[in-house]
């Protein structure tokens, strides 16, 4: 999994398939990064993601809880139509802003 830390921002470059199998790894690695780098903002980058299920929603909700306690925010970028549908249906769009590409 690829991550980028810039000041107190953590970008998580999500994999092609965000399911339970991959979610476990992201959960452990990102929590470690959040705790050790004074992270306040988490950006979920869906550029490569073609599949996402409720395990992916779980990853977002878990990170949100952690970051919210620290007074920060989470957001999503590069979402496809399918991913936006999943995010909207699950209701996480109420706690997370989706930023669209400027064209």
């Amino acid at each position: 999994m690829k991550y980028q830390v810039q000041e107190n921002y953590l970008t998580i470059f999500l994999p092609g398939e965000l399911d339970h199998h991959n979610a476990e790894e992201i959960r452990k690695e990102s929590d470690h990064l959040i705790e050790h780098n004074h992270i306040r903002y988490v950006i979920f980058d869906f550029a490569d993601t073609k599949f996402c299920d409720s395990s992916g929603i779980g990853v977002i909700m878990g990170r949100y809880r952690k970051i919210y306690m620290l007074g920060g925010e989470v957001c999503a970028v590069h979402t496809s139509e399918r991913i936006r549908k999943i995010l909207t249906m699950s209701g996480v769009t109420k706690i997370m802003q989706i930023y669209e590409e400027e064209k």
Partner: protein, 151 residues
Amino acid sequence: MENTNEMQIIFDSYSSNESFARVAVAAFMTSLNPTVEEVADVKTAVSEAVTNAVIHGYECRVEKIFLRCTTCEDTLEIEVEDHGKGIEDVTKAMEPLFTTRPELDRSGMGFSFMTAFMDQVEVSSEPGKGTIVKMKKTIGKGRKIWTTQSL
């Protein structure tokens, strides 16, 4: 009955097999000529059912998951069966955001996604015996007849 097709797969409850299961069902349903959207819906629903069996049914032990698929005319029927611990209160388990494993970052949206993406979802479960999730979806329901524009 005419135009029926059937397949069964038995696989170990490794989390890596979740992607195998949904891709196998996606490949099987191509004969129904589904849209990209319909394939994505079915893949998500299968993924949820299999993930439930791995995490909740077998509690991450490695045992067998049974996946059965049937197509009849334009309807796809999927059954995911595990012989794990079963569900005590199915109605409660199917409530959105209800989860027994919040410590694992489970969102509690699994059954909600299954019901949202499939036409029909039935769950039969007995504590200590296991769970069977039956899902049905009619493919090509919303498809409009393709007509050319008149000149």
